[in-house]
Symmetry: C2
Subunit: 225 residues, 2 copies
DNA sequence: CGCGCCATTGACACGAGTCAAGACGCGTGG
DNA sequence: CCACGCGTCTTGACTCGTGTCAATGGCGCG
C-alpha cells in the first residue's frame, strides 16, 4: 500500500532498442529541491516523471484545504501520467521529500510510444489495475479502521520504503506527513506514537522524531485488527 | 463519483466491424437475480461483465468484515476487468441490486482484443485514469469529511444514477447500502437523514424509506463544506 | 395471523478533533 | 560563542461527533 504500482521497468522491459534510443533523446533530467512541487492540482499535464533519485509524496487537497497523501514515490517510480492518458488536469499534487533527480517524459512522446507499442500499453493497463487494488485497500482502511489501527497499518507498509538492510526500519517522515497518510491530525498521531513507544513497538531516536520500528510483527497484528 | 468511468461504449467506439461480429460470438448473456454475487473477493477472474440491464454495487470487505461500497453500476457499465488485466484475483465483490442482465466477456477474448486493437487499449487507459481521479475524490472525502458532509456528498452524486426525467431524484438503496457508501453505520446514517428531512432537503415517501431529494442545490452546498 | 426484515429512536461511552501552551533543537545573526 | 527566534514535536484539557447496544415500530410475506 502507498507504493507505486508503475515503475521505470515499464520502459526498460517493453521498449525496443530503437525506442529506447528515442527515449534517451526525448526525455530530460531535472534536478529539484526538497519541498518543491513537481506539479499541482488543476495544473496542465505537459508530461510525466520518473523519480531517478530521491523521494516524493503524492497528495490531494480536500475541500477544507487539508491534504491527504495517497502515495509515496521512491527511486524508479513513474508518476503524474494519469492526466496525460485521459487528457484532463492533474487531480493531485506531487511534492519532493528530498532533493531529487527527475526524468521528464513529454506527454506527446508518451502517447506516441503507447500508440506504437502494444506491449507497453498492456503493461500499463496491468499497472493501473494493480494501482486500483491498492486504492481499494486504502479507501477501505480509511473508512473502517480506527486511527490507532491506521497508524499501525501505515507504519507497517512503510517498511517497504524505508528498510535499511534487512532489519532496521527508520521512517524520516514528519509528523504532519504521517498524519496526512493516516487521515488524522498531528496531535492524535503523536499520541498514538507515544502509546506505541510505551508498548515497545517503536522508538524515536533523534530529536527530529525519526521513528524506528522495533517489532514489525506486533505492528502488523495491530494493523490487521 | 461512484460512477463507472468505463462503459460498453469502449467497444462500440473502438472495435472494427469484424471485431464486433466476433464480440457477438464470444460473449454470453446472463440473467441473474437481485442479491446474487457476480464475483467475490479472492475469486479467479474468468472474464468481465457489462451490465445490460439492472443495477449492481461493487464493494470491498475490510478486515473486520464491514463492507465499503466504492461504485454503483448502471446499464452499460463495464466491471470486473481489473484482475483480467493484471492477472490476479478479484480484490472486490459485485452484487446485484436488482434482477439484471449481464454480458459476460471471457478473459482471453478481452486480452486478445486489447492486444490486437490499440485504440481499445488507449481508451481503456483513459478510462482507468479517470477511475483513478474518482478514487482520489472518494478517498479524500472519506478521510476528511464528517459523516453529515459525506452523506450529503453521496446523495448529491447519486443524482447521476437515480434521476427520473429532469427533476425528481429518488434513491431506492437500503439504509445499510447507503451507510456502506458513506463509510458509516446504519444508525448514524438514519440520524443524518432525519435531520435533512427536518431541514426540508429530502423526504421519504414510502415505507421502504426511499429517499426523495427536494433541494439538490442545498445538498450540494452542504456537501462541499 | 404471526414471523422477520428493515427503519427508527434512545441512552451511553469513548475516540478523536480543537485549542492552547510548553519543550526541544536548530539555525541565524549579533 | 551565545542568544534569540522559528519550526517541529509533545502534552494537557475539553468538547462533541460517532459508534455500540438495546428496544420499538412498521410493513410485507408466507
Amino acid at each position: 500500500m502507498f507504493n507505486s504500482a508503475i515503475t521505470q521497468d515499464l520502459f526498460t522491459d517493453c521498449l525496443t532498442p530503437k525506442e529506447l534510443a528515442q527515449f534517451e533523446i526525448e526525455t530530460t533530467v531535472l534536478k529539484m529541491k526538497k519541498r518543491q512541487l513537481v506539479f499541482s492540482e488543476n495544473g496542465i499535464a505537459f508530461g510525466c516523471y520518473i523519480l531517478l533519485q530521491g523521494k516524493a509524496k503524492l497528495f490531494k487537497t480536500g475541500d477544507l484545504g487539508k491534504t491527504q497523501i495517497f502515495q509515496l514515490c521512491c527511486k524508479g517510480d513513474l508518476f503524474g501520467f494519469h492526466p496525460v492518458l485521459n487528457n484532463r488536469k492533474y487531480p493531485d499534487s506531487a511534492e519532493l521529500l528530498e532533493d531529487s533527480e527527475l526524468l521528464f517524459i513529454p506527454a506527446a512522446f508518451l502517447l506516441q510510444l503507447l500508440k506504437s507499442n502494444n506491449d507497453l500499453c498492456m503493461a500499463m493497463l496491468s499497472g493501473l489495475s494493480t494501482e486500483f487494488e491498492d486504492f481499494l485497500c486504502q479507501e477501505t482502511m480509511l473508512a473502517q479502521k480506527s486511527v490507532r489501527e491506521r497508524v499501525c497499518t501505515v507504519l507497517y507498509y512503510l517498511t517497504a520504503h524505508y528498510k535499511n538492510g534487512n532489519v532496521e526500519v527508520s521512517i524520516p517522515l514528519s509528523r504532519a506527513d504521517l498524519a496526512d497518510l493516516c487521515g488524522t491530525v498531528k496531535e492524535t498521531l503523536v499520541r498514538v506514537l507515544h502509546d506505541l513507544k510505551e508498548e515497545q513497538i517503536i522508538s524515536t531516536t533523534d530529536a527530529r522524531g525519526t521513528i524506528l520500528l522495533l517489532d514489525v510483527n506486533k505492528l502488523k497484528r495491530l494493523a490487521e485488527v
